[in-house]
Amino acid sequence: MSFMKPSKPVGIVGYGSYVPRYRLPGEEVSELWTEGNAGLPVREKSVPGLDEDVVTMSIEAARNAMKRATGAHLTAENLQQKIGAVWVGSESHPYAVKPTSTIVAEAIGATPFTQAADWQFACKAGTEAFQAAIGFVSSGMAKYAMAIGMDAAQGRPGDALEYTAGAGGAAYLIGPIEDALVEIEGSLSYVTDTPDFWRRQYEKFPEHAGRFTGEPAYFGHIMSSANALMEAMTLKPSDFNYAVFHQPNAKFPLKVGGELGFSKKQMEPGMLVNDIGNTYAGSCMIGLTAVLDMAQPGERILVTSFGSGAGSDSFCLRVLRKPEHNGAVKTRDYVARRKVIDYAQYTRMKGYYKLN
């Protein structure tokens, strides 16, 4: 088993999230495609505005992370020039060829002497960027690294995924432990070739293997990854104050958490899926931001992602101090900022109409 512990301790220096303003209630989808007969996997989902995509959402999340990272000893200017990597994980990068990350890096003032790359691994693209950033900082190759998980997910009209495919995510600035709000105690990655969900190049919408997405894919990988991390660190569920799992719908994370031995009380603070839908590469990463907004020093958090194809990354985190928000919006405030739209407005925002 390959347990990952950085040789030099590193942590989360700043974090930030973003959720767009618009919400599509599940009833709107159910009404149109099933005369209201379908059960709703989530109450509602977030929808990006006409002028939003993974680039713009990543920029806002990264700016929030920068705000929380700056303080008495760290100004925005000296931070910007020490960000050695800007990495964006997503399955909805606006360009097929042309990095999202260079635009984000430019917007947060990290250019030109920085690493920039777009990561891809379905819903765990964000946590793999996060994991790589730990190594990049711990090795001394970068003083700080920005790891982002962000998506504006696609669901074929009428498909089960149309109820849940949401938009949003989070950005984390990883840095030396002296500057950190949260220590990263260890992590682990569990990967197999499991084709549960995919999207071929030039296709607009993804395909999924129905029931196969549950047991061997989601549950199998999350259970294996979370159990292996706890075993490697000789920790048990009761040693954690919070647990955040990938949230494709409202049922799966509570079920997998329950099977692992976590209570609803440990999971609820990081559960956002009923309010914003599945934010794919942003899912457990934005769940963690909601936890960090309220967590107390000394508290321990388990975070486990799942990405189709398939894999799962687990992280053990320990809160060192409470953040100064410095104007950064809290995640539950983004969730509360909502304007409900109907299915017609939704199809327009998703660009399904051809104007010319």
Binding site: G49, L50, D51, E52, T56, E60, P94, I103, E106, L355
Partner: protein, 129 residues
């Protein structure tokens, strides 16, 4: 679409980077290298806070070419808290809720796209603060 023209203005569009006059300390946006107050050379970069208020606004129902998919939308004269006035689109707000004096903050959004094959142009818009 002229890629070079947009590329040259990345910093001002993404981060509201203008200039500060070394003589009278006036803040300048967009950057023009000459201070509009004292007419002297002013080339010191200055990052604006992005805070401001709506000075005047108009809602467009007939959008110009390239902006059709965003109509109707509101364009405002925003008075930045550092002084200069900028013209920009408002976002994340219903036209009926826009008021003169409304506090706003800068966000980076898609300004337009050059058809399905062309580049995406990102830049500043303002939303209620």
């Amino acid at each position: 679409m002229e890629v070079a023209r947009f590329w040259r203005t990345n910093k001002q569009r993404y981060q509201l980077v203008g200039e500060e006059c070394p003589h009278c300390k006036g803040k300048i946006f967009p950057p023009r290298d000459i201070c509009p107050t004292c007419d002297k050379e002013a080339k010191v970069p200055y990052v604006f806070s992005g805070k401001g208020e709506v000075f005047s606004f108009s809602t467009l129902h007939q959008a110009p070419a390239g902006f059709e998919r965003y109509a109707p939308y509101t364009v405002a004269l925003v008075k930045l808290s550092e002084g200069p006035m900028v013209t920009a689109q408002l976002t994340d707000v219903d036209a009926s809720d826009v008021k003169i004096g409304m506090p706003v903050e800068m966000v980076t959004r898609v300004l337009r796209e050059d058809g399905e094959r062309g580049m995406l142009v990102y830049g500043y818009k303002f939303r209620p603060a």
